[in-house]
Symmetry: C2
Subunit: 122 residues, 2 copies
Amino acid sequence: MTFTGQSIMHSAEQGAFRALADPTRRQILVHLAQSEMTIGEVCDRFDITRGAVKKHLVILEEGNLISVHPKGRERINRLEPMALKTVADWLEYFSHFWDSKLGNLKSAIESNPKSSKENENG
Amino acid sequence: MTFTGQSIMHSAEQGAFRALADPTRRQILVHLAQSEMTIGEVCDRFDITRGAVKKHLVILEEGNLISVHPKGRERINRLEPMALKTVADWLEYFSHFWDSKLGNLKSAIESNPKSSKENENG
DNA sequence: TTTAAATGATACCAAAAGGTATTATATAGA
DNA sequence: TCTATATAATACCTTTTGGTATCATTTAAA
């Protein structure tokens, strides 16, 4: 076995992008950023069944966005920020586009505050 | 109408996160970062049908990741980086986690290069 | 004015997603 | 040991997703 993790090899960030596509899962990450939690504690913060939450946690784990740590009969879910950094790094590739866009807008405003039509799209 | 865009209101970034979940769509964005393209030119870069590419472009447009500009019988697809920045900003909320993680690792290595077990997870 | 090219629009299909309900298993505590 | 609790696993359902094939529409060009 060359690859650990999912059975089908995706790009390194695919699992994380997939996990982040769902708003409930993103909200779970926000909660886990406050403190690690058992599944039960995560469930308390949503109006869906335990089964649904469990599925979300599995997908987050598959994307390496969280790690799970058994503790007696509980399982502690912990945020794993490095997978988020992987996604941030992918986006970083495009950052010069929005940097330059903001830069152009800034210089246009500075050079002529009353008209900056040359910076509009279309 | 209070909200423009999709009929059901999601968070501002939902459309972008959804669009980014598919690897083909992310690849389209990478291509459009090189230059704007017609649909036909995008199709030339993938082994799927024109219909499938069209659907991906619609989803990218719904997520405001691209804009489409009619030009004669062609339609020019252009990267819209600000929606990517929206996603990057969401991730930024978590950046202190990976910053501190890297920081801890760095200081652990500096103080004792041979053993940094106190920084391992678990 | 035909004709070919670029795109749009639909109908259809299989698989994945997101959810529920139910049953099973492991473990802390009386 | 018996019981309640925390979680796991499974079957099932509906909607969404990613894809195809096909037909329609718009427009450039011979």
